[in-house]
Amino acid sequence: MISADTAWGELRPVFLDSIQQTLVMVSLTLLIGGLLGLALGVLLHTTRSGGILAHRPVYTVLNVLVNLVRPIPFIILITAIGPLTMKAMGTTIGIKAATFALIVAATFGISRIVEQNLVSVDPGVVEAAQSMGASPWRIIRTVLVPEALGPLILGFTFAFVAVVDMSAAAVAINGGGLGQFAISYGYQRFNWGVTWAAVAAIVVIVQVAQFAGLYAARRVMRR
């Protein structure tokens, strides 16, 4: 498949680097964006009316904020938050900047996934914790999140794939990783061998993640 004139031997170190970069980028994004998204999602869930921290103004602001940021096409988001990226990372290009942009995008995306999964927690168990005098923060930590852990894990697995996908768009700012590899060395050069090698690597990573995610979710939910 890889065309004869592609110096695959030369590409190999780049390929391996790309894999590593993708792993680093995606892990960091899921870790930081995951935590922030979890926090934001929990706030969305708990501040809406009827929630344990019901607070209309806060909810409205967060809800609108998430709706403002999420739909911005990633490539535009990258550019739009350039000044912020500059402040935070000292640059607007390269893997650091890309990771920053990914984290921002993931935070807002994941918040909606989290919100969606918390909604299915039985209100009865929240009441049980409340009746024992648990504080909202405590309830979030020890009831809401654990009770929704199964779906949450699936949600984060979903986000993992979405982030991998999104990281490909980071090619625009030299973000590195398999996406960049696939696009720069494959897609833009019409070299399908390289493209599919990169995609295959992505698929393997995703399969592993998805498998781990499903496994963990089943362990947690015991079904």
Binding site: G82, I93, I173, Q188
Partner: protein, 271 residues
């Protein structure tokens, strides 16, 4: 039926042309001129350089106008197609811009330069930087060089390939960017303030002649040739020059020359 050239009942003909700069001002006079000859030009816009050639090859467009011969040659070789130039348009310079420095020599050792990440523009950018004395390419480099060909020991700067449009946005992050003409203009950068430009008039610029491109079987299509010719009408050229702020060099070479150059580039690419 959005694309493909149809002979309508009324004898008018629709030609769809793929481009990446549909909003450029020269399309209007070109369309007007064509209309007078009974040709309706339909502009099909693509967001990145990669899709326009496949669309043409698959007969979803009739012509395209966005690429230089180098880009075309690379595509033909890599995708095993035989798209061919039917009329030249312009050569635009590729410039080195900076927000931090006002002269090349201010760029520090180990500085970072953003370059376009599509293969042909990337190679051209590397050559520009070599001309500017900022880096050295192993074996002198060619129109297919990549960052891997940089002789890092002998070079002053490192490069960061980004989306062609992002070369502008990256300016605050880097010491300099190599920016395509059209993006520089769109971003209101003054081409005269470029720290360095490659010279479009030099023979080395030949590969970067932009051209109308058609499928091989259409190379003699009179309508298409007519359109390619109309490009050089003064009313169009005025707009082209205005759009490029005078940096574009109009090129009106016979088709045979274009084909020859392209064939040579293809031969290089196959190596």
């Amino acid at each position: 039926k959005a694309v493909a050239s149809d002979d309508d009942e009324g004898g008018t003909q629709t030609v769809s042309i793929g481009t990446t700069e549909a909003s450029a001002p020269y399309w209007k006079p070109l369309q007007d001129l064509a209309a007078k000859q009974g040709i309706t030009i339909k502009v099909v816009n693509f967001g990145d350089y990669t899709q326009a050639n496949p669309a043409l090859a698959q007969k979803q467009t009739d012509l395209n106008l966005f690429q230089h011969l180098q880009f075309l040659a690379t595509y033909d070789v890599e995708a095993d197609q035989d798209l061919t130039p039917i009329g030249s348009t312009v050569v635009v310079p590729l410039g080195v811009y900076s927000k931090k420095h006002t002269a090349l020599n201010q760029i520090p050792q180990g500085g970072k330069v953003a370059i376009p990440n599509d293969p042909t523009n990337q190679a051209r950018a590397l050559l520009v930087l070599q001309q500017a004395g900022l880096l050295k390419l192993k074996g002198g480099g060619n129109t297919l060089s990549t960052p891997k060909d940089i002789d890092t020991g002998a070079s002053k700067v490192t490069v960061a390939p980004v989306d062609a449009a992002q070369t502008v946005a990256s300016l605050p992050s880097v010491d300099a960017s190599v920016i395509n003409n059209n993006f520089a203009l769109d971003a209101k950068l003054d081409p005269k303030k470029a720290l360095f430009n490659d010279d479009p008039k030099r023979p080395e610029a030949e590969p970067y002649i932009n051209a109308f491109v058609a499928r091989a079987e259409d190379k003699d299509n009179p309508t298409y040739l007519k359109i390619a010719k109309l490009y050089h009408d003064p009313s169009v050229i005025t707009q082209v020059e205005a759009y490029s702020k005078g940096t574009a060099v109009i090129v009106d070479k016979p088709r045979a020359d274009l084909v020859k150059i392209t064939d040579k580039l293809k031969a290089d690419a196959k190596k």
